[in-house]
Symmetry: C3
Subunit: 485 residues, 3 copies
């Protein structure tokens, strides 16, 4: 990591690494590539319209199967005049010899000018970015996120609807396992769209995604909207400026009950369908929603575009293909201009239009960061998190962001890598050797004193490490955080 | 398929999709690339001589192992100044997630300007072409065809022999399983060459290929030519103009018995050797012809070039490599200039010299097309046909061309995808609910009334679907076809 | 092989195929690419600085997993403005159909202008070169050699140390199985560096490598240097001019005992760490040296760079990464400029600076070459040699170079392909039908009479082939060789 010192770059791990304004910039440039097309090509195909990336190489580093993400990235790079090197099969790469991702990234960073990574582990792209002096784009990491797919999804919605605010988007299928969905709902929330979850049984959005929508992106759950929960933006809570600086969000909408009633009756703008992510589940899926011509006959879908990140494996009937509402092949096609725009911006090839670059590649978080060796105390509870990959053990740490948004509730930890959350753990103070199970105490931890604290999975771990209980620990810290100490 | 409406393009699925004149055009351009070579290179190597494809991308979509076909296509595209995206391993593509070919093609068509496809199923390239707005080249589909290999084979023969007419070509090995052979014999027949089949035991040319040679390409079987059948062109039957518009064929040769006698004594011009296609057979091969120095000592091979599409696995002895008759590495080398010519023509990069483009990518067939849903009635009898691939079920139909060439014989059906043929089935009339097992009745079906008919595999199926026999049905239709009704 | 006649090219199979002067030339050009870098890039990254290879294609032909070798070659070719075709997975290439390497090479040589090959068999690259009219670069063949890795290693050492002469290099780990080590120690010896072997138990340098260092590169073993043997150059024996023409070696150093004493006390200049080559061993490794912060605290390593060809799998602790002595990522980064230099020289793209080209691609050896069919007599004793690969049987022969350096010792045979050595075998004379087990007799064999001799593995083989003993055969030939006959 010492290699990175002073290197200013920009990575894309989560859709939340891009501001609304930056997303708009990407779309403007993507559109400019589409506008250059000769008339004879269909509206969503693109030729080689530029040579601006001719001095650059993209590395495709795929540890999981892919066709469209990899090929659309490669096509985008070639359409920009650049070149590509590809490692698409872990069985024929040095991963087969047992190499860590952290090492692979540090090596390949010397062979290319930016890289796109796909990996079966949640948080892998964040780890890769930690070790890369060149921009790392997350091409899908476990069931965490897939931000460039979301860019294509949003671009498609925008082409169909002019703006995203107040759209009502139904999301159907494996909302838990689909990384695509997770990036997508954050973006929808941030741009003021309404989300109608239609999960397969047992495949609801993960709790931490729900909570983040509610707490960070100010969404409200509306249980009165039929049998399906609806989430609404509400302006009653403060926004995080970095994420909401775009013009769209500033125009926040009314949240009176009459507006809500109107929203409930609003037709669905788009149905976003996802396949069962069989590679993320141990069991087979029994029941799964299937979108077909019959489903779409319901009047509330009469103007709904049908989107799907593809591939599909039965959940979206081929009979829909000839329906004018089907937008999924167009959506796939936008992968090229949108990724052209992203790549060229990350490489700094557009004068005037840029993505900010940061030391270490990410905007500094306002959240307190806990950072301890992997051998010490609490580890991420998500078994698929990259921290549990044996090969990466020397290169990861127990790192969590402290979530203390909601002063009325106990705090939580968000894994630095996979962004899943934990709300039950033990907080121990290394100075006085006391521990507490009351996660209110998080509120008393700051970037200045965070090194004094250790987190444990349970009391026996804390006791085994020489800590003991203190009755009023939590209360005191809670008071401290409230400025009452 | 609605996506295709109005799109005029050109696909290459079968060698029979190219007219003789178009094949000549490809060869002229291939030769022009060879002519540009600096003297210091060997006659069949080629450098980057042009940049005409610099705005274009070729997608290599290989669902089966390949080295020479894929690499020679990619080399050809790069030599033209173009770029390449590659999906060479189904295990690392979205196929591993269960994606259909029809979907993959519709997506990838947005990332590239033309694509080459290899697939284990017969007819896969035809299916792909149905869904692609960009040119699809068949890089080998099951045991159906491999037309670009045939272009290289013909080009090699032409370089060695000046013209193809009246050459006598022995074809040895797995004539049944080798897609290369199937494309090759059609082309030989069309250019007036004589074919001497030398099959491994049980590996004769498929019946439908024999019949097509005889009926469509006017070949005659000569049982008197030693122990091996020889096929001769004869001008007594009408030619299908689209296939025989080239100058070569117009000069049809005599078929008198003295000419035949002469032909029998003619030395072999080339021996075309093929490997046992183990991936197409369930059983192991016991006995297989082996071409070696001793075999070639027979005087009738004294001037025979030895060709092989490669790879070889024992059927062509290494001792032949140093024989001046060995032409197989030269044949492999021509893969680049021939494919450069094909690609550049399909992309329309040569002024004056073009391949015609058609709506849907294929010249309209003069044969009547039967087209019913996959769930209705007769399905293709070839178990390896793409229609039997579960993943493609929503994207294929029961489609057959009606063969009624030979008025003296009963009719047959040719599968729209894999081009294998069926000659025993049941024809049912939806209007009067009668059915017949007499395939003479095909002759009464036209593009106007074809929707009134259903085909079934056997009588019980027809009866199960509510049809019943009618005695004189066949006779009537037969008479109708003959204009006597 | 007839194809090659008269073709003058240059292959790189072993580091010993390059003279010291040529290695220096490669480094000068590599440095010139680094010098062109804009200041804002780190010292070891490289942009597209040239377009000199824009007319050329590199073929990557990898039969074993690789990331850094393949991707750095491809990046190098792209940075030179060239193009790349890749076959990275034997399971999806024609090798899966049973094709021989000899055939694959002859085909692919028509699709590219040079090729890099990786293969699990020792000697595979030598075989490939035999059949290729275009330059073949050995990208690692079994446990034989990996010469381009050594170029990167040497370049790194040179950047750190200005010159290689008199450096003291510790090599740690699997010295037997690591092809990287084998190329490396030859180069170190040739440039006058001292080698301190630190093998894992049972993983010493192969005997033939030791012997070659001693006999061909004039190294001496110093058992007094602690518990680890040290090898020193000594100028008492004649050097092979082709390998030692560089300026470095001419300045040979003193070998007096005081100089040796000084050398013993000299600090280690670099520790070269290698992983356990699990793919080369049947058994698991129990004990393996591990280089970590503690190891490097020993004062003798205080100024030692730490090198590793990567990937690492535990033998080099991540704690070293932040140590200023860690040079392995820099070493990996040099892969691009060094390979750019090699490729551009092999393609003849530098006026004035060239690598010599030879008929057949290799400088003619001064050693006598024994060359018999694979079915006749002695075969290479190395079970992993390419001669034992069934698919290659028609394309390899029993070929050995005769080693008679050391007049005081019996002679040995060096396999033409894998360069492993045999020192017990039977020499038979076809003219008089006598045989001997005394390998002194090798000394009597010359390029003129070598066809009169056959080698056998043991006496029963010789007898079985109709030979019988002759008492004074060996003595006579030995005398002959000494000029006393």
């Amino acid at each position: 990591m010492s290699k990175k010192t002073g290197i200013s770059t920009r990575h894309l791990n989560s859709i939340n690494n891009l501001s609304n304004r930056e997303i708009e910039t990407i779309f403007e440039i993507a559109q400019s590539y589409l506008d250059k097309l000769p008339d004879k090509l269909r509206s969503y195909r693109i030729g080689r319209s530029t040579d601006i990336a001719s001095d650059f190489i993209l590395a495709s580093l795929f540890y999981e199967p892919s066709t469209r993400t990899r090929l659309s990235f490669e096509s985008a790079m070639l359409r920009l005049g650049g070149d590509v090197i590809t490692s698409a099969d872990p069985a024929t790469s040095s991963a087969a010899k047992g190499e860590s991702l952290a090492d692979a990234v540090r090596v390949i960073a010397n062979y290319a000018d930016l890289m796109v990574i796909r990996h079966p582990r949640d948080g892998a792209a964040r780890l890769a970015a930690e070790y890369s002096p060149i921009p790392v784009i997350n091409g899908g990491d476990g069931s965490h996120e897939h931000p460039t797919q979301t860019l294509c999804d949003l671009f498609t919605l925008k082409k169909k609807n002019k703006e995203l605010r107040n759209l009502k988007i139904a999301i159907s299928g494996d909302l838990r396992g689909s990384r695509t969905i997770h990036s997508f709902v954050y973006a929808l929330a941030r741009f003021g769209a309404r989300i109608v979850p239609m999960p397969a049984p047992g495949m609801e959005l993960p709790h931490h995604v729900y909570r983040r929508l509610r707490e960070e992106f100010s969404c409200k759950f509306d249980s009165a909207d039929g049998s399906i929960g609806a989430l609404y933006h509400t302006p009653v809570e403060p926004h995080q400026p970095a994420l909401f600086s775009g013009p769209d969000f500033e125009l926040s909408f009314e949240s009176s009950s009459s507006a809500m009633e109107k929203a409930r009756k609003q037709k669905i703008s788009a149905v976003y369908v996802t396949r069962f992510q069989k590679e993320r589940w141990l069991q087979k899926q029994q029941e799964y929603p299937r979108i077909d011509a019959k489903f779409l006959k319901d009047p509330k879908y009469s103007r709904a575009s049908v989107l799907h990140p593809l591939p599909r494996v039965g959940e979206l009937d081929a009979s829909v293909d000839s329906d004018s509402r089907a937008a999924y092949f167009e959506q796939a096609a936008y992968g090229v201009p949108v990724r052209m725009a992203l790549i060229s911006l990350l490489l700094g090839l557009h004068e005037g239009e840029t993505l900010a670059s940061f030391e270490g590649g990410f905007e500094k978080s306002s959240l307190v960061l806990y950072d301890q060796p992997l051998t010490t105390g609490l580890r991420c509870a998500n078994p698929n998190c990259i921290v549990h990959e044996e090969k990466e053990a020397p290169y990861v740490r127990n790192k969590f962001h402290l979530l203390t948004h909601d002063k009325a509730a106990a705090g939580r930890l968000r894994c630095f890598y996979c962004e899943s959350e934990m709300d039950a753990f033990v907080i121990a103070n290394r100075k006085n050797k006391w521990y507490t199970t009351d996660t209110f105490a998080l509120a008393g931890i700051t970037n200045q004193n965070v090194r004094d604290f250790l987190f444990f999975a349970d009391e026996s771990d804390a006791i085994g490490s020489g800590f003991h209980t203190r009755k009023n620990f939590a209360a005191k810290h809670s008071r401290m955080a409230a400025g009452q100490s």
